[in-house]
Subunit: 237 residues, 2 copies
DNA sequence: TGCAATCCAATTGTATACAAAACTGAATAC
DNA sequence: GTATTCAGTTTTGTATACAATTGGATTGCA
């Protein structure tokens, strides 16, 4: 069983036990856009749905807030995070800084087994699209990037990339232009080809342009920030 | 009151209320090397010391584990983290990737107020050394780097740097060579001078060499990993 | 009718009680 | 003498009970 199957949540859980299951389940739902940004995650609701106590629910929500998939507002509850346009730009600037170089490192450490994993990933993406499950395809697409960072064998940076990919999923949910088609197929395939040839320069360049493509499919023009309540601005704490 | 005074813990707390106070206090103690890597942080002990319930203690410990200052072992408790040599190398590779470029960005956004903050930081470092409090000096020194990342106004990357600096403090506690003197004074001063002149190239270069200096003062030769118990290797979970 | 103050239901924050797991050390078997 | 087992103690994991806060509906008043 490979890592893909072992970690369907993306985010390496930072909690253990029942809370980890809950975290995984919520994380996956958010990544697949079944839970939309802004959705309230009530503790009682979750505790009933998953059959655990609020103690466990709170641990999972706190963990999710640490990876910024969830926003905790004191005394008000947990909500699926809504990154602002400014944050969206930052996320992709950070990805542009980290991922191309990581792709190069991955090239140097590539193995046959790793290549096979990446290809099975792409196949799974295609299958998800064919089956009319764009949410799952999107999640797998993010996981592809994470897999590369793990192959590069830089766990610290991989951890950062996990967070950035997670946040990217929320950003895509909020700011994706309808017109633009999501065709990661070719980009990911081109990356794998570069890996196979051991061409680090090409891998780095492909990753760079792939990220640029994603950003250019987003509508990040300045618009009034997602409703900010007076409370958020003025609250003493 | 500037940010320095507001956030003496380094780590922007990801929890609120009493748990945040506890997190800040523990974080500061770890940064100042009053709490050493490997120290057990018992829940009952902390709850008695701080006069809060274990519920709050657990929230703080979980938050600290998310920034990797604390390691949680299921059913065994919380310990101040002990990064391995391998992790230490990764952390400084990541810093080398992020911080020089961030220093350049900071140069572009530098203001008089920000410069003043950085200088008051250096002054505080000197004072701490003069008063024979090397722990506090070390903490302030880390905070200097974080302040730069905030000036660069890239909060996403600043968050990563916060984590890396925090982890660096643990690494220094574990692997610092006795012989080498900690003389960040000059490095930090040189950085500020570059900022003052608006010389982005110089700031980037200074940051790069500063980080190299730190790493070269560490003893990261391969030694038997910090005692790994059989349990850690063989435990089913 | 419009506005404001107030009360009430719902939800989160914290403490505590109980369950489960792990460590300790003494007794026992070899 | 060494290793092992097992009970007791300690510590962590989870559930539940209670307190505090919020948000909205209701009521009172101009």
């Amino acid at each position: 069983m490979n890592r893909i199957a072992e970690n369907p949540a993306f985010i390496t859980p930072t909690v253990t036990g029942p809370a980890a299951k809950l975290m995984t389940s919520l994380s996956q739902a958010i990544h697949e856009h079944r839970l939309k940004p802004g959705t309230k995650l009530g503790e009682d609701d979750l505790s009933e749905i998953y059959g655990v106590s609020r103690t466990v629910v709170r641990a999972a929500l706190q963990a999710l807030s640490h990876v910024q998939l969830v926003e905790l507002k004191r005394n008000r509850g947990a909500f699926v995070a809504k990154p602002t346009i400014r944050e969206a730009r930052e996320v992709f600037e950070a990805r542009a800084l980290l991922e191309p170089r990581t792709a190069r490192s991955a090239t140097e450490r590539m193995t046959d087994a790793a290549l096979a994993r990446l290809e099975s990933h792409i196949a799974a993406e295609h299958q998800a699209i064919a089956e009319g499950e764009p949410g799952r395809a999107l999640r797998l697409s993010g996981q592809f990037h994470i897999e590369i960072s793990h192959i590069a064998d830089q766990e610290t940076i991989a951890g950062f990339i996990e967070r950035l990919v997670a946040r990217s999923s929320l950003i895509i949910a909020l700011y994706w232009k309808r017109e633009s088609a999501l065709c990661e197929k070719h980009a990911h395939h081109a990356l794998v080809e570069a890996f196979r040839r051991g061409d680090g320069d090409e891998a780095e360049a492909q990753m760079k342009s792939h990220l640029i493509d994603i950003v250019s499919a987003l509508d990040l023009r300045d618009t009034p920030e997602p409703e900010v309540s007076l409370r958020d601005i003025l609250a003493p704490e």
